[in-house]
């Protein structure tokens, strides 16, 4: 087995036994990036020098008999997390030359845990998109089929784990941006409860929905990454001031006796039959392991897309007001230009089409005369959507469903139809509106060999239940051990 084919647990074992060094492991992944990234384009920047320096430091830690679960483990970071002295673009032209003065909390915590950072990963501009086709630096490709999208917005981070060009990665999920690409790339992707991981230093898209989380091949690996990142941060007043449980320990709980709800509204009309079949089979596997399944109803599911595409653009239009050509990033200043000209020219030159569309939509929804009809109404329906989940969780411990209505579609297939593209997130975005934890894990493949994911959703701060169910599923199946031919 080559080093890039290892999963996190196998790499950990070899590192701890000193059968390989962190430097060797890191070099193997740097080589793998060189070999695969010309086709996959998962990375926007690779940082071999600092990665090898971090690896050497990890080797010293390990030689001293110290270190933890992530010491010496090579990883990638979605380019939405700011990284000290390392250019961070958020996939946008407007931040092409932005060199952050500090690390995002999630990144700082991974560094403190001894993880080795290989580079920054591709994404839809400002995390707005479902395919990475909105990246100003060109799309990523799905390692299982280079014609296909990897999903988005954290497409580079998902594709990289699938391609074996990192052992884990971190992304962000505002409406499905971790779970949907994880599903399309056949890897594990987890969105924790809103507030579980600090958003400090995460370039904001929609602040009431954004949440950071891990990608890896295994649920056990994702649990370790979450462990390192989670917990209160005084720099983010919306991070939860709560103890972080031992996620690795929770994996052993299994699913025996667990009550799992299957929402009838999530097997929607127009759902790909192979997706439905694969997910039904996965549900049967969990039943075979001793879980009890019951049908539940989330009656306001049908309204979630409309609610999301009011709230997320509204928050984005406000967050993106900071890109004004004054403090950092692109600045277009024609000779004799006024301040207003500078704003107009900078933003029009720096933002891509989808970002402009959402800023326009959000500005409209918040503007005088329309606020109550759109933003006000959406906030009320958001309450109903959240209540649906709270009601369901009175009867079940977790909810299981498909992640996306179809497997990965082809690059270019939906770029001209924003509404169709938005529908890719129809099964994931309610989870963000309600602030719940959710995971996507590999459940099988369609007849064309494209991966299909299973989604497990838990109550607020019940990451342990979600992880335990996911881990039990992986112990009983081998979908996550399959590798794309690259």
């Amino acid at each position: 087995m080559e080093l890039h084919e290892l999963n996190m647990e196998q790499a950990r074992e070899l590192l701890d036994k000193r059968e390989i060094s962190a430097r060797e492991l890191t070099q193997a992944f740097l080589d793998r990036i060189q070999a695969t990234d010309p086709q996959v384009h998962a990375y926007l920047a690779v940082t071999p020098e600092s990665a090898l320096a971090q690896a050497d430091q990890a080797d010293q830690t390990l030689a001293a008999g110290q270190g933890g679960a992530l010491t010496g483990i090579p990883c990638g970071i979605k380019d939405v997390f700011i990284t000290k002295d390392l250019t961070t673009t958020a996939g946008s032209r407007i931040l092409e030359n932005f060199v952050p003065p500090y690390d995002a909390t999630a990144v700082a915590r991974l560094k403190a845990a001894g993880a080795v950072i290989l580079g920054k990963q591709n994404m839809d501009e400002f995390a707005m998109g479902s395919s990475t086709e909105n990246s100003a630096y060109g799309p990523s490709h799905n390692p299982w089929d280079l014609k296909a999208i990897p999903g988005g917005s954290s497409g580079g981070s998902a594709a990289s784990v699938a391609a074996g060009s990192c052992l884990f990665s971190i992304g962000t999920d505002t409406g499905g941006s971790i779970r949907q690409p994880a599903s399309h790339c056949g890897v594990v992707g987890m969105k924790p409860t809103y507030g579980r991981v600090s958003r400090y230093g995460m370039i904001a898209f929609a602040s009431s929905l954004d949440q950071a989380g891990p990608f890896s091949r295994t649920v056990a690996g994702a649990a370790q990454v979450l462990q390192a990142m989670a917990g209160f941060d005084p720099a983010d007043s919306t991070s939860a001031p709560m103890e972080v449980p031992d996620y690795a320990a929770s994996l052993k709980r299994g699913v025996k006796g667990l009550k799992l709800g299957v929402p009838k509204e999530y097997f929607v009309e127009g759902m790909d039959p192979e997706v439905e079949e694969t997910v039904r089979k996965a549900i049967a596997v969990l039943e075979g392991l001793g879980a009890q399944t019951v049908e539940v109803s989330l009656p306001h599911t049908d309204y979630a897309l409309a609610v999301y595409y009011i709230i997320a653009p509204a928050e984005c239009s406000s967050n993106l007001a900071r890109y004004d050509g004054v403090k950092y990033g692109l600045s277009q200043r024609a000779e004799d230009a006024s301040l207003l000209d500078m704003y107009l020219d900078t933003r029009s030159a720096g933002f891509g089409e989808e970002v402009i569309r959402r800023v326009m939509l959000g500005t409209y929804a918040l503007s005088a005369g329309y606020y109550d009809a759109y933003y006000g109404k959406a906030g009320q329906v958001r309450t109903l959507i959240k209540q649906d989940f709270l009601e369901a969780f009175k009867k079940v411990d977790a909810i299981i469903s498909p992640v996306a209505p179809t497997p990965a579609f082809d690059l270019g297939q939906k770029v001209d139809d924003p509404l169709q593209m938005y529908l890719s997130d129809v099964l994931t975005l309610s989870v963000n509106l309600a602030g719940l934890p959710g995971i996507s894990l590999p459940a099988g493949f369609n007849s064309a060999g494209r991966p299909i994911g299973l989604q497990i959703i838990g109550p607020h701060f019940a990451e342990e239940t979600v992880l335990a169910a996911g881990h039990a599923f992986q112990e009983a199946t081998d979908h996550h051990t399959k590798r794309p031919a690259l």
Partner: protein, 94 residues
């Protein structure tokens, strides 16, 4: 028609975006499509339903108002398109 061409142009001005006519035309069509799909929210009677702006019941996070170290000025200005060493420089306003 949910939004007219002129309204799109006005919203662009509010959002500080300079759009060419072709973009205004295209966005008028697309925003109408998107806004029409949002019509369905009006099927729901939400009178008396409180609004959710945050998924979790968070209360204001307070701390002592004390001086703490912050970003050094030169670091804060390092990414500035234009600065005079003390402040960001922008085109003349008055």
């Amino acid at each position: 028609m949910k939004i007219t061409r002129d309204e799109v142009a006005h919203v662009a001005q509010l959002a500080r975006l300079r759009l060419v006519e072709e973009q205004v035309q295209r966005l008028t069509v697309q925003l109408n499509d998107i806004l029409s799909s949002m019509e369905k929210l009006n099927q729901l009677d939400t009178s008396g339903v409180p609004s959710t702006n945050h998924a979790l019941e968070l209360t204001g996070a307070m701390r002592e108002d004390e001086v703490r170290p912050s970003l050094k000025r030169e670091r804060a200005l390092a990414n500035a398109p234009d600065s005079n060493g003390e402040a960001f420089v922008v085109p003349r306003v008055i």
